[in-house]
Symmetry: C2
């Protein structure tokens, strides 16, 4: 839809699709959504600049870690329109995404490392575990310690205090 930053817009939809391993329909969709830029030939066909490959690779990578197209679009918005983005332009995105990515990594590590421990004993506090901390749930439940996996408040209350390891699963 909009003009690509570089004047050398020579790549077709199929070209860029092949290079990043996407379907042509996906490339058109991204163009429509404004995540990438194209110019049109006199006949109305899309042509992309080489930096589109870079954008698409970024889009794919970001998608693979769970970013939505809206989030990706927001990030790409920060890149300059008129010139090919520099290292610093991309680095700015890396910086702004860092906290979110760190949190995701923490969640994954928690699920990976603590799954057996936490679920097995049902004793992990919400505040101490990155695994179970959906933003909205944390907001609505905000009082006192909740428990990650297994016994919930009433169960814990019923059995013992702080370090309670009520463990019915150890049969």
């Amino acid at each position: 839809m909009s003009t690509p930053s570089a004047p050398d817009a020579t790549l077709t939809v199929g070209d860029v699709a092949d290079r990043v391993g996407l379907a042509p329909s996906a490339v058109r969709y991204y163009d429509e959504r404004g995540l990438i830029r194209s110019v049109r030939t006199t006949g109305g066909q899309r042509r992309f600049g080489r930096d589109t490959i870079r954008r698409l690779a970024f889009i794919s990578a970001a998608q693979q870690v769970g970013k939505t197209l809206d989030q990706i679009a927001d990030a790409l918005e920060t890149l300059p329109d008129e010139r090919t983005p520099t290292h610093d332009d991309w680095a700015a995105i890396a910086t702004s995404w860092r906290p979110g990515l760190d949190e995701q990594i923490a969640r994954l590590e928690a699920l990976r490392d603590k799954l057996d421990g936490c679920i097995g004993c049902g004793c992990l506090s919400l505040e101490r575990c990155a695994l179970w901390n959906p933003d909205d749930a944390a907001a609505t439940l905000g009082d006192g310690a909740r428990w990650l996996l297994g016994e919930s408040l009433s169960d814990v209350d019923a059995t013992a205090t702080a370090t309670a390891v009520h463990d019915p699963s150890r049969s």
Copy 2:
């Protein structure tokens, strides 16, 4: 729809929904999908055992790191039907998921740590970077070095190494 492992199925949909911070409709949906188990009252209402909380917490945590309900269902299938799952039952899931979770972590770390470096210079090889390695793309492109973000084969050919292979993979 099937019977819960514990005979003390006393929790209603609303109870479990509140405790894990889910909507009642989601709980019913999971029940319908077979991810959790319930018994019915004479009046036809669902009742859940306490271990359902544990399952739901697991489902939520797994979903947050991008697992689909099908994948989660598969994992939960490995848990015993007749008794409350033990530490070891859950640990088995942790073990089988480990490689996938490790890969996801690697991707995230790559996006976090290498975004500026990789994209800025456009010089990272596919084989050396965890960021850009979607399974299917890797499978279809399987030959030679492809490049992560930025300059693609032809660009690289023009500038440096001659190990590039133009892949004739598409129609």
